[in-house]
Symmetry: C2
Subunit: 337 residues, 2 copies
């Protein structure tokens, strides 16, 4: 059997079962946004590692090296945010074809440094090596979280509300525009925002910390694969189901206007991926506090559904309460090809 038949989720599941570790200091191994290990008496150490490969995870046609550097860091920051953690240290491992210009790498590292600085993260390790043809960027981020504040994917209970920060689907829309525009210059300011959202997403570190500190969430994940796919991670780890109201999903002006002409692209909000927003569940008792806090701090947090028993699986309901068909559920790294 080849990997493309099994798919990444199948593969990870197979591996996770194989690598169940029983180590006194491991709180969570494979299967969450970051690993969680005991650092000292009060804190957990968080660690996440991501590899970006040219023409799989990014294209130099859309993203200049500077934005690429920023995005590589943002992706790892988002994983730390999803645990409610504070990012601290970054290590990079970058492989470049020998014909890469030194300007390219200077700008790449400038993007890395600026995004790291912006979030108070110190770059403490970096190695470079040669790549045969495609650029490979690996980021490893270390962070920490007080032991009583960490938020896992597991923990959602039936009756919990499902929330998401920001808007969904803009990154997917942006990518679509990048792909389709050819030599055209895009002048629509809303579409330009969506295009920027794709190449330079801003991770929700502050929001993640507040949600963790106030103990508002029962589970959390960042939306990297797409809403439904990531909600499924929460559902599987928490052994529950979930329903999502299509009309509640927060959309940007760009996407709202876009789907007037392209109604099928509502799927971008469900499965576009790379939103890097936080998806979390919270007890109904915290609903009021979440609303008040969001207003006070100027954070966009929207309830989009609720947790239901496992046997109901994950469903999206349209305005009439009918089940909305999910044609393509997420950004599955292998099957997509």
């Amino acid at each position: 059997m080849q990997i493309k038949e099994l798919g990444e989720l199948g593969l990870i599941k197979k591996l996770a079962n194989q690598f169940t570790v029983s180590h006194p200091r491991v709180i969570k191994g494979i299967g969450d946004d970051t690993s969680v290990t005991i650092q000292d008496e009060t804190k957990y150490l968080l660690c996440t590692t991501d590899t970006l490969i040219e023409d799989i995870h990014f294209s130099l046609k859309y993203s200049a090296s500077y934005n690429l550097g920023k995005k590589a860091v943002s992706i790892s920051l988002s994983d730390i945010a999803a645990m409610g953690g504070t990012p601290a240290f970054l290590l990079t491992s970058i492989a470049l074809p020998p014909t890469t210009s030194t300007d390219f790498i200077s700008l790449l590292y400038r993007g890395i440094k600026e995004r790291a600085d912006e979030f108070g993260v110190a770059l403490i390790g970096g190695n470079t090596s040669s790549a045969p043809d495609k650029i490979v960027i690996n980021t490893t981020m270390l962070g920490e979280v007080p032991k009583d504040q960490v938020i896992f994917r597991k923990g959602a209970s039936v009756g919990d509300r499902v929330y998401v920060t920001g808007c969904l689907g803009d990154s997917g829309l942006g990518l679509k525009i990048w792909k389709e525009k050819g030599d055209r210059i895009i002048t629509d300011p809303f579409l330009k925002d969506a295009m920027l959202e794709h190449i330079d997403p801003l991770p929700r570190v502050k929001e993640g910390r507040i949600i963790a500190e106030k103990r508002l969430a029962t589970s959390m994940i960042d939306v990297s694969d797409g809403l439904i796919s990531d909600l499924r991670h929460i559902a599987e780890e928490s052994m529950v189901g979930a329903k999502v109201w299509l009309k509640s999903i927060p959309l940007s002006t760009a996407l709202k206007r876009w789907i007037l002409d392209h109604p099928e692209d509502i799927m971008l909000s469900l499965a576009g991926g790379e939103d890097y927003e936080l998806l979390f569940t919270a007890s109904m008792n915290n609903a009021n506090q979440i609303d008040v806090l969001a207003k006070e701090l100027g954070m966009q947090i929207t309830q989009i559904g609720e947790i239901v028993p496992k046997e109901f699986a994950i469903t999206v309901l349209d305005e009439n309460g009918a089940v909305f068909p999910l044609a393509r559920e997420g950004f599955e790294h292998f099957k997509q090809l």
Copy 2:
């Protein structure tokens, strides 16, 4: 300018200067075998990340997936060993072409797991994604070391002795045989050992810990680029020079026999790379203790030279005390291509 003109060392130096961090918890950032940050009152956290790319860092012609998995872990273990640390946790990020067989990845992970288990390391994170054509394996290893035992590249003083564990050059010889053998079957048991040394090096974690615990070394590094290249890292960080006696370099039976017919291949011991032995410097006062300890614990530790003032740079002396010319000094990842 392209990277191949600047070379990896030039690139890293340029970047390291750019990323000098002043963070209260960072003890050592870019420029050593691992990052060193404060974990708690008594310990430092060590973190290292390495990327292996098919046909740059390994070839499936020589290395089966099982050995590849083991080697990927060994490389990171060796970095932790070079700081005198104890490895603890491993995260992997692996990208595979979609046509990769699931057997291949099962064996790859088996190799990863077995090598990790062997050294008491827990695999706590793993993600997989698609690669366009070449396999990419990233390993991130976390370890720790008591604060008063960490060994940096800097710290060597004039008059210190230069030591190395094990033998040098076998991995380079092994690679040469793998490349040249074609369809021939190698029956010479010594050459077979060298070939195995290349695809399955054993990191010197135990040795590193003992050297650190007994505070025997003033500086340490693992020999990954090649003896002279790695000695240069120590010399630069310590602001000293070094002389190495060619005849003192420990060689395996395989390499000793090989150079009878191929005398120029003595260079493999100086610049072959991927030995994953520990290269360290120690005060003359510790010489006796090192000899006794090595005998007691059955560790091969050989004095190969001594630290001299910076202005003498790095020289290798032959049997007659003449300077041995260094044609190719190490495995420089970019210039090599």
